[in-house]
Point group: C2
Chain length 414, copies 2
Amino acid sequence: MPLDPSRTIAELQELRELTGDENGAQRVAWTDTWKRAREWLRGKLDELPLEHEIDEAGNQWWTLGGASDHAVLIGGHIDSVPNGGWLDGALNVVAGVEVMRRIAEEGEPATTVRLVEWADEEGARFGRSLFGSSAAAGSMADQDELRRRKDAEGTSLPDALEEHGVDLDRALDAKSQREGAAAYLELHIEQGPVLESMDIPLGVVLGTYGVERSQITWTGQAAHAGSTPMDKRRDALAGAAKLALEIREIAKRTGQGAVCTSGNVVCKPGIVTSVVETAEQLLDQRHLDAGKLAEMLAEAREAAERFAKEEDVEVSWERIWAIEPILFDDALIELADEAVTEVAGQSHRLPSGPLHDAAEVSRAGVPTVMLFVQSLRGLSHTKLEDTKPEHLELSVQALDRLATKTIERVSTQV
Amino acid sequence: MPLDPSRTIAELQELRELTGDENGAQRVAWTDTWKRAREWLRGKLDELPLEHEIDEAGNQWWTLGGASDHAVLIGGHIDSVPNGGWLDGALNVVAGVEVMRRIAEEGEPATTVRLVEWADEEGARFGRSLFGSSAAAGSMADQDELRRRKDAEGTSLPDALEEHGVDLDRALDAKSQREGAAAYLELHIEQGPVLESMDIPLGVVLGTYGVERSQITWTGQAAHAGSTPMDKRRDALAGAAKLALEIREIAKRTGQGAVCTSGNVVCKPGIVTSVVETAEQLLDQRHLDAGKLAEMLAEAREAAERFAKEEDVEVSWERIWAIEPILFDDALIELADEAVTEVAGQSHRLPSGPLHDAAEVSRAGVPTVMLFVQSLRGLSHTKLEDTKPEHLELSVQALDRLATKTIERVSTQV
């Protein structure tokens, strides 16, 4: 069968009918709806000469043996958040089905080609995202903690897994799937506004951001709003306000791709008649370059010290969470750029804000790249999530071209 | 009896023993403890040739007839907030007792002199402050609403009043007490840091601030902290942060005595991974000059419009509450300045941030002035509230001198 990108759209719509409702997609991992989606997916590939298996972490694999054991992997996830969108994750596995059809049609490929549908990327039910991919990557280090995890109804994670034939104690054995893996390709909607604002359908992802999350506590002095002259105040909000504005300058100075966000400030006592005594501020900083990320954090801390001095208040920092940047493979980024340019006439390289299964695969040492297709209004994790049909079709074509180029590269390199 | 300011301190300590506990003063209006405090006060004046009465609003009056019916009033309140301080309100009535002793000792004064202990200045139990003074001033306009007011236990305000012999329907008849009133004098602790910071024991109050209270709602767009570039954001917090800093510049430009406070900012969704969509900000602005207050509000609104434009967010304003400035009497301010300077060697004129019974009396057209005595660390409404004993003694002396000067002025003027 020649590649038919319009079929991908039709199949995504079919999946939406099967597993969504008026509130959006309901393919939450480790539920019956998710199981139904996976069975539907399997049905789509039943006619092809592929070996199907589900690994120890619940990941679903289809393998098309090639002239070489070295394998090119195409991956995605079919699970969604509750009331989610129709494209987040599913686009890639369904596009992957179409690419597998085209390759299988042409006979034995030069390398083995595998499609993987990762289990529980979203972590919607148990709050543990990238479950299947981190198990296969060997980076799942929190199994002890996961054994105690419960969902909102009190069902434990191990019990829910068992219903789907997965034994948490053996999940890490899924790492054997990495044998022979020479490249990993993932297509995803952007979930951000960059490509739309540039009027570009497709982009190449450079990697996933490193993240530094901090909670900053400003401590001043509560004082009566009427009886305390301006120059006698120690206003905690003033520190937080200055920093909320300064982090934007820090991001600007750091340059393209740097983001800093203050998502919350909580004031105490928080009443109209009192100067703010304490302000608790959240800060999220991201960059693709670990050095620049560290610099952004250092600059924010220095600025905070300066503001604390200016305002005669105290400031303290607590790191809430952090992750290193994960950079994708240079050679695959080049190939992806070629594929996108051939298909869409132009390409744009950009970092990914959200994490993806691709980050776990890349961490495990498998050369990895992602393609982004434009999201309308940057919306995701909502039934309003959407992408123009012509862009969806282009994305299937680009993934297909990238697969061809990658198979060729892997087969000639090894 | 000659004036004995040390007796005022001893009596305030006695009152504290009688009506306080380890958490502070408990003289909440319309309670048994408050009643006990008022009976104690009455006992202190029983030996003097004064006429005692309780008016229709529950205010307690002592009258020393003079050569003229024109009356000089000295006032304060003996009620406190729960867990309150020993001086807020009580200082003036107890100092007033000492001044009445001194005047009565000297025979018939040139004018009638009256001491008033206002009922329920704090509004601690029913949330309605300045109860007795606003009734006597004729400015109590919320009687219908007060009839439905209940305390935390569900007791209605009219029922609580009735237990203390007060009929809410007749409270406004207390305005007859204003007959002949030619001057009103009130001593109070500053409840702020100004006098302490200047190392000055006593000050003269110019009036009570006009207040403008606003709630400002900034509306931007929630967006993912990772996938939204800095120049694509519509950050509601940025508007609030800019305004929180700008109001300080507005107060500075307006000059001495202007205060602007942003006491709270509430961010939504308020999570670390999202740009702030809405920020609800509180603003309190105060000035002694109605024109300047209006100007400060206008400047804040203009600045907010500018910031909304800069940040591509929306901003809307709601007035929560407002009150006009109430200016005290120029001639009495001069007399008070003289009295303070004679007693303490120096004086300082300052506005009052908090409202006081004096504001109600002044609104009703009775020439009014207040004296402030230094508060330690500006603390009030807490058991930590305190003032140096030597400053308390000076304050009794200053009130006494001011009474003498005022009686003389009233008697020669009329």
